[in-house]
């Protein structure tokens, strides 16, 4: 097979130097090469959202990118978001609302939710449903996920209003 390429990137705040085959996707690199199995793959064609990660703080499909394309970038996965406690409130809302069953879609859902919550847009149920239009979940029927994101958005807004007051 074609020769491997050296890449250097930040994953969850740690610098990683690695040799990867040019055809290795970012998803396979994260899951197999560096064992960050919190990111999943469900379609490997950009449809299901199970593989969403943050690339320079924006959600991207790790199945649609080659690892070499992430050279020099900052990648963050559910493990990293958890570790730096960036989504504590979101995870708590998901947990209390039972917004997951098998959990296979969950990392992707959290990354999407992180993105839409960070956008600062006003969120209602319809806009949350739209924001999740690239996240497939077979188990929940989505309503609990919408509820959990809505709750988090509301609590964050209340928190901000309190800070401002």
């Amino acid at each position: 097979m074609s020769g491997k390429v050296t890449i250097s990137l930040a994953v969850n705040g740690e610098t990683i130097e690695a040799l990867v085959a040019p055809r290795t996707t970012l998803a396979d690199f994260l899951r197999q090469d560096i064992q960050l199995t919190g990111t999943h793959t469900g379609c490997e064609m950009g449809v299901c959202g199970a593989c969403l990660v943050l690339l320079d703080d924006r959600p991207v499909h790790a199945c649609l990118m080659f690892a070499v394309q992430a050279d020099g970038c900052a990648v963050e996965t559910v493990e990293g978001l958890t570790h730096r406690r960036a989504i504590d409130d979101l995870q708590k809302a998901f947990h209390e609302r039972n917004a997951l069953q098998c959990g296979f879609c969950t990392a992707g859902m959290l990354v999407s939710a992180y993105g839409v919550l960070a956008s600062g847009d006003e969120l209602d149920r319809d806009s949350i449903r739209d924001a999740l239009s690239g996240n497939y979940c077979r188990c929940t029927g989505y309503e609990s996920i919408v509820d959990a994101i809505e709750t988090t958005a509301r609590l964050r807004r209340q928190h901000m209003e309190k800070e401002e007051a």
């Binding site: 097979m1 085959a21 055809r23 899951r31 197999q32 064992q35 960050l36 199995t37 919190g38 990111t39 999943h40 469900g42 379609c43 490997e44 064609m45 449809v47 299901c48 199970a50 996965t77 559910v78 493990e79 958890t82 995870q91 998901f94 947990h95 209390e96 039972n98 997951l100 069953q101 098998c102 959990g103 296979f104 879609c105 969950t106 990392a107 959290l110 149920r125 319809d126 949350i128 449903r129 739209d130 999740l132 239009s133 996240n135 497939y136 979940c137 077979r138 188990c139 929940t140 029927g141 989505y142 309503e143 609990s144 996920i145 919408v146």
Partner: protein, 789 residues
Amino acid sequence: MNAFAGSIDRPNSYIGRSVSRPNAKRLLEGRGRYVTDLVLPRMLHAAFVRSPYAHGKIVSIDIEEAKALSGVRAVFTGEDLASICAPWTGTLEHFTNMKSPPQVPLPLEKVMWSGQPVVLIIADSRAVAEDAAELVIVDIEELPALADPVDAMSAAAMSKELADNICFATKLDSGGVEEAFDAADTAVEQSFIFGRHTAVTLEPRAIVADYDPSENRLTAHHATQTPYQFQDVYSRHYGIPEANVRVIAPDIGGSFGMKLHVYHEEMAVVGASILLGRPIKYVADRMESFVSDIHARDHRVTGRLALDRDGRITAMDVDDVTAIGAFSSYPRTSAVEGNQVIRLMGAPYDFSSYRANLSVVFQNKVQTSQYRAVGHPIACAVTECLVDAAARELSLDPFEIRERNLIPDSSYPRTSPTGYQFEKLSHQVCLARLKSMMNYDALRVEQAGLREKGILRGIGIALFVEITNPSPAFYGVGGARISAQDGAILKLTPSGEVHCSISVTEQGQGTETIIGQIVADQLGIDREKVRVMTGDTDTTPHGGATWACRGAGIGGETALQAARKLKANLLAVAGLILQAQPGELDIRADWIVETVTGQQRISLAEVARVAFFRSDTLPPETQAQLSVVHHYAPQGYPFAFTNGAQSCLVEVDAETGFVKILKHWVVEDCGRIINPLLVDEQVRGGVVQGLGAAFFEECLYNEEGQLTNGSLADYLVPMACEMPDIEISHVETPTRDTELGAKGCGEAGTAAASAAAMNAVNDALVGHGAVLTQIPMTPTRILKALGTI
């Protein structure tokens, strides 16, 4: 009989409470452990070469180039595996004259569907295995494909072992049907087509088979609902003693029935691990899932209802032709769905003349088999659409015609004309609840107002009956080695906590949570002190696991009885320590208390400490029993039937054929509810799968038997933006067959959602001369029904 005191105010009264799932935290942090994630030392990877034809004769297979590729460790074809694997046949003895050709991991002479695995490549990585798969040359002489089920019924047999393409045929006839139709004031008839769809679990099928020749020991890390069934299958078909086969089902990314069938790929991978003595991993990619996971449904049904002038149903007559692919699946077969279709028809209604004809037919497509709500959506849709058709004919409101025909809640126990025994159902209460909950009359007023503006809204309702808590009448009597009983081991730890290992399994629905609730509730201890583990044949007792809505009802009762047994043991030890009568003691909030006064006497932790470490201080001859094993098999009724009612509100755009689902309501009665939060989410998830079938999901085939939409970009699944909010209400009619009183709820949502959706669309189209009797109701089909295209 359940004189069950589920008082919610008692300390540790967890039964009936919405509590969140302890094991979900791991999944939320990306710490799940799915088979897909697993890596073992010296592990190799599998990829398959698949048949490009739906039907053909294998002329030759050239594997030389593939074998020579660097990193390829082995290439296996049919003979290699057939020589070590006993063939399997998907029949059940209680389905008289059922037949199916024997199956082997990889085909020897013929390919029977497009996508059938033919050659197995084992390599250092999946990528190399896939590269090698490209180098295999399989020469197949294409044969005509039987894609259409009706054609297949009369065509020459496609399997040399069989005389024709009929897998199973049966008739039910309670008598009086012809007479009832002759005497009827009104009769309605409709013909339905229910498309093939498939489970599309987000995690595809996955297995890591790890055979250790030194001990003749197989460990299969297998993403399945039913580890015990696979322990049995691997043991018997590969000739390994059962106790040497361990199946571990860790976190599973969805199953819904799909992951409990025997697949050729998994069998081949186990065989390869045995031949190579190394762990081998196989994870289906999405394209492979579409052509090799079981599909579901695929029915053509003609149904008729006879009614008298008061709109009372007097008879029902149905004919179901269902196509199941080239083989009946194993070990649960592909005939159970059809059997349930014809037996659940008309189930909510009070009539006695029923006749049904079922034909289960082979064709050159991938197998169909049990998927969530097996048979229910078909029976429900046919029944409920016919009832609505009759209502339209008689100018009766859909609620009114149902009220006239329901089996009265006061008339149980009952036996249906199809032979099902109903202990107690609550149709009347559910229907009334549904009507008030959805504010039906106001919706009708709103609908009429919008209609004047040209906006077509439709309201559809559907009642359902669901089969849960199956006894051995389901599979055991048919000779299948599938357990109807479950087992639990409860162990006290020296710190006074409890470890429970149980044979029902978890796929995210909350099995471990409800078992923990029941154990903690019954023992009188904090829920956080109960650790539940599932999904490992070495560490849990053999049991049925999770299918057909049995986890809560049968697994829950197992846990309840086990906990009571352990509690009795603990009170006996405490009585010795305290020199008190065990009968006067109780456990509350982790303390041994006096039952009457509630006074705390000694902590459970202290009892455990003494029993484990200072048995010398107990009276001589005392042998404290600090662990218990308990098994429970359902007795009494063969099944615990549940029931409920659903309604769907839609808006149809007659110009484009697009349907917007505005709202969905469910009233359901699953008996004793252990955790309302989890029940509601099971119901919602189920409804969305039913709505997917109603509007989007279909495996499309061309005449050559090729699947033409086998990717997640082409096969439509329901997404967040298309799905409505779903309002749920409960009626609780516990079964008296158990102390717990719980029945199943996992399939209720799926059972009636498609039917409610069909009735809603047809209600919206009233006056437009269009009636849809085929799902999915795609925009094209709606426009065709409207005559627009």
